[in-house]
């Protein structure tokens, strides 16, 4: 029994199966809400699954110049690193793994997919994917710092570097959530960059560089990549929920889970709203925007948090 339970955790809940199912649902909601806001009909609920099955069943084409082992293994690395993070984020009761400093581990694990996107583009050697992977890296320098700074603000005010303890602190002091609203907005905008969605979807802007870093990917490998991005959205929403919004409010069992679902949905809807209402910015404008606005706001947030911490 001791060996079966962790395997179930990894494979079913809150691991691969749950994340995959919830990610496809979130993707459908994202697409449907976008469609309704654009006065369109939108896809049926099974569309993301149908897309996934279609991609999985298609032929995989590998470019002649590409490094075959690297090219094939990258999507799985991206998926694995994203799924690993969910074990440190509270989904049902307490997280499976929780230790002082796990927020740093999460941020590191969430950087790995970005690096794999870069490697994916770079190893495909076509001009479009090369430019796409360059943009992935450039953009990484834009959003990574404000995202981590905004998390750091919460960590300072909660006096802990553990995601679970931070959410516990906000549960006990709900008013402190209001203090962190600027940091929350910074984190939302930065995660929009991390997820490579409009307005920060330059790495695979289809009108400019076709598929960007994924240009040469096809079939199963592309399907895994897209699933990884969908799951990344869920994980980021769960992380933002845990760090900024007080997580599950220490409610274990079903109601805690319901709170988790509602809150992550709200975060995802805000992300969808950003996507609907903005035009794509250029990669240099994106970096400029993050360093000109997001980083200062995040730093001010940290200063406010420090002040409150020392004063009260």
């Amino acid at each position: 029994m001791d060996t079966i339970m962790p395997l179930l955790y990894i494979a079913v809940f809150p691991g691969f199966v749950f994340l995959g199912a919830y990610a496809t649902l979130i993707q459908w909601i994202d697409r449907k809400v976008t469609a309704v806001m654009q006065n369109r009909v939108g896809p049926p609920i099974y569309q993301p699954i149908a897309d996934f099955i279609k991609l999985i069943s298609k032929e995989v084409v590998i470019p002649d110049n590409a490094d075959e082992i690297l090219f094939k293994s990258i999507p799985y690395i991206a998926l694995a690193s994203i799924i690993t993070t969910i074990f440190m984020i509270p989904v049902w009761g307490t997280p499976m793994v929780s230790f002082e400093g796990d927020i740093v581990v999460i941020v590191y694990l969430l950087t790995i997919p970005t690096v794999t996107f870069f490697l994916a583009g770079w190893s495909s050697t076509s001009p479009y994917s090369t430019i796409g992977s360059m943009r992935v890296m450039t953009q990484l320098f834009g959003y990574e710092v404000p995202l981590f700074l905004s998390f750091a603000g919460c960590a300072i005010i909660a006096q802990s570097w553990s995601v679970y303890k931070i959410s516990e602190y906000f549960t006990q002091n709900p008013l402190m959530i209001l203090v962190n609203i600027p940091g929350f907005i910074v984190a939302l905008l930065a995660s929009q960059g991390k997820l490579e969605r409009v307005p920060f979807d330059t790495p695979h802007a289809k009108n400019e560089i076709v598929g960007g870093q994924f240009t040469e990917y096809s079939g199963r490998l592309l399907g895994i990549f897209l699933l990884a991005i969908d799951i990344e959205m869920v994980v980021l929403a769960a992380l933002i929920n845990a760090v900024f919004l007080g997580g599950l409010h220490n409610i274990s069992g079903f109601f805690g889970f319901a709170i988790f679902i509602i809150k992550t949905l709200v975060v995802c809807l805000i992300l969808t709203l950003f996507k609907v209402l903005m035009a794509r910015v250029r990669v240099d404008q994106m970096v400029k925007f993050s360093w000109k606005y997001l980083v200062p706001v995040a730093v001010i947030q940290i200063l406010i948090d420090l002040y409150i911490r020392l004063k009260f």
Partner: protein
């Protein structure tokens, strides 16, 4: 220049309560206006075989030929044959037709007519060749 972030927000929120603008075409019949130009109809009785339509057709889609079956010759009361109007057939190549309806405009006897029948896609190409008798 004044900037307003999220300029489309009120409009996008408003759409949440509205029906999609998309028409569910194959399930809902598409509305066409009168004077719509679609498949050309032909009335053999009116045609005098002047072939003006063939002359103006930009895509050579229409062809007027003499019918295989002509009306039987009749004789008048004085025993002389009465000249009968020849009967003409029309071959429409719908795959070539560009639906400009110039033939309808030019026809001096109004033997050609536009219909509102625009769902003309076929899997079998031979079905696109219509022979009006």
């Amino acid at each position: 220049m004044k900037k307003k972030p999220l300029r489309l927000l009120p409009e996008a929120i408003k759409q949440l309560t509205q029906k999609p603008a998309t028409s569910k075409y194959p399930f809902e019949k598409a509305k066409v206006y009168p004077n719509f130009r679609a498949r050309i109809l032909f009335e053999s009785e009116k045609c005098i075989g002047c072939k003006m339509c063939m002359r103006v057709c930009p895509s050579k889609a229409i062809e007027i030929i003499i019918s295989d079956t002509q009306p039987a010759a009749q004789t008048g009361p004085d025993g002389n044959p009465i000249p009968q109007k020849k009967k003409f057939d029309c071959i429409m190549n719908l795959d070539r037709c560009i639906y400009c309806a110039q033939c309808v405009d030019i026809c001096p006897k109004k033997a050609l007519k536009s219909s509102e029948d625009f769902e003309l896609a076929q899997l079998d190409r031979t079905k696109l060749k219509l022979h009006y008798k």
